[in-house]
């Protein structure tokens, strides 16, 4: 892990700080490029699949691997609005751009960038949470408003909004439920606000029984048992959702995520119940 001061030195000295530019970044440029041209909710299944499979396609990889090959990105997306630094007007070549490459000044968050791009994670349901956490700490070390107390008001505002966005991205991607729901959102789907009219009544009955049992639990052991069962169900659902999202089966994923929501609520209640016993 870098120390904060050495990070700052790396950032100031190197023209292209490596930890801001990753191998994957250029690969994801194709995806992010289309995100700029159209809204993020139209990240098509085939784009996602090609991103998922691109490691297998050696040839295509050559086209994207070099961070210096800015031209390839431009060719792919001619209608992209070019973003430039608000201070020195240089083009912001990277996506996402946290700092300008030339004058190093902090940039405001861009529209249409997904949380996966911000946190430099593969656009899949399975996620390396350790890597996510590392990236989160890395980003906040440079973006946090505390670093900008001596800078201009505009820079302070930009660091605030960027830092808040990174917080939101981290929180969303950390837990499977919110991650899955976000992935659905990117495809234009949400869980219904109101009653689930197609819900399986046996399933709801089971949920009722678990909730009632938890309510009536007299000892921490009883509550724990319910907690363990729920954890098992959540792990099971995580696997199923991963498979469904890989196949692009959105309706199935949506139904599974709804189930996960119910069990996640029970998990929260178990924690509350256990704390009451203390």
């Amino acid at each position: 892990m870098f120390s904060v001061s050495s990070l700052r030195t790396v950032f100031r000295a190197a023209p292209q700080p490596r930890w801001l530019v990753t191998n994957r970044l250029s690969g994801s440029a194709a995806v992010s490029c289309s995100a700029h041209c159209v809204s993020t909710s139209v990240l098509k299944k085939d784009t996602w699949d090609s991103n998922f499979n691109f490691r297998a396609l050696g040839k295509e990889r050559e086209l994207f691997i070099s961070t210096k090959q800015v031209c390839s990105r431009r060719d792919l997306c001619t209608s992209q609005v070019k973003l430039s630094c608000w201070k020195c007007q240089q083009a912001l070549d990277q996506t996402p751009s946290f700092f300008c490459m030339s004058c190093k000044v902090v940039q405001p968050p861009e529209e249409g960038i997904s949380f996966f791009q911000i946190m430099d994670c593969d656009y899949t349901f399975t996620l390396d949470t350790q890597k996510l956490q590392k990236r989160y700490l890395q980003l906040q070390r440079s973006l946090h408003p505390d670093n900008f107390s001596q800078n201009s008001v505009r820079e302070q505002e930009y660091s605030e909004s960027h830092s808040a966005l990174v917080n939101k991205a981290y929180k969303t991607l950390l837990k499977p439920l919110s991650r899955g729901l976000y992935m659905l959102e990117l495809k234009g789907m949400r869980l219904e606000e109101g009653t689930d009219l197609g819900a399986d009544s046996d399933f709801l009955m089971e949920l009722m029984e678990i909730n009632e049992a938890l309510d009536e639990a007299q000892t921490p052991e009883e509550a724990n048992k319910i907690g363990q069962d729920t954890k098992g169900k959540l792990a099971d659902l995580t696997e199923q959702i991963d498979a469904a999202l890989r196949e692009g089966e959105l309706q199935v994923s949506k139904a599974l995520l709804a189930q996960m929501k119910y069990y996640a609520n029970i998990e929260e209640k178990v924690k509350k119940k256990l704390s009451e016993f203390m």
Binding site: E160, S161, A164, N167, D196, L207, K261, Y262, K269
Partner: protein, 165 residues
């Protein structure tokens, strides 16, 4: 819950310090005192015998918030609802909505109970827009209970017809 209500109402400092955690405005709504009343003094919590022919059971869920609601009605021979019970696992607004629903259906006929609208429930409890779906859930629970009762009654009628042959 009452303590958390006061905390929500009187903590502008806490709200400000949470500014960095989300760029969008965090809505701090206090629960209306009627909702708090239903939460702290719930009416008609419990269960009825779901196997009884006179009992209709409505079981509904809201996937977005993960709430589950069970509402049961007991109907007498004249088609009047004589008893109602509920069990809801969810937020205060959902609990209050279902509690109010059980209060309202008592004494009504099956057809009158069908007329209860979520907007009436929401108005009575002064539910904020973000909690309107809770009243919707309660209305759907009433309808589901009535539908279940109807189904049982139709089933019973068919049995009686078969038996008389």
């Amino acid at each position: 819950m009452a303590s958390s209500v006061t905390k929500k109402c009187l903590s502008p400092l806490a709200f400000l310090s949470r500014r960095f955690s989300a760029p969008e405005f965090i809505s701090q709504c206090c629960y209306h005192k009627k909702v708090v009343d239903h939460y702290e003094n719930p009416r008609n919590v419990g269960s009825l015998d779901k196997n009884s022919k006179k009992v209709g059971t409505g079981l509904v869920g809201a996937p977005a918030c993960g709430d589950v609601m069970k509402l049961q009605i007991e109907v007498d021979d004249e088609g009047k609802i004589v008893d109602a019970r509920f069990k809801t696992f969810g937020c205060g607004s959902a609990i209050a909505s279902s509690s109010l629903a059980t209060e309202w259906v008592k004494g009504k006929s099956v057809d009158e109970a069908l007329m209860i609208k979520n907007t009436d429930i929401a108005k009575e409890l002064s539910l904020p827009p973000v909690k309107l779906h809770c009243s919707m859930l309660a209305e759907d629970a009433i309808k589901a209970a009535l539908a279940d009762y109807r189904l049982k009654q139709d089933g019973e009628q068919q049995e009686a017809v078969r038996a008389s042959r």
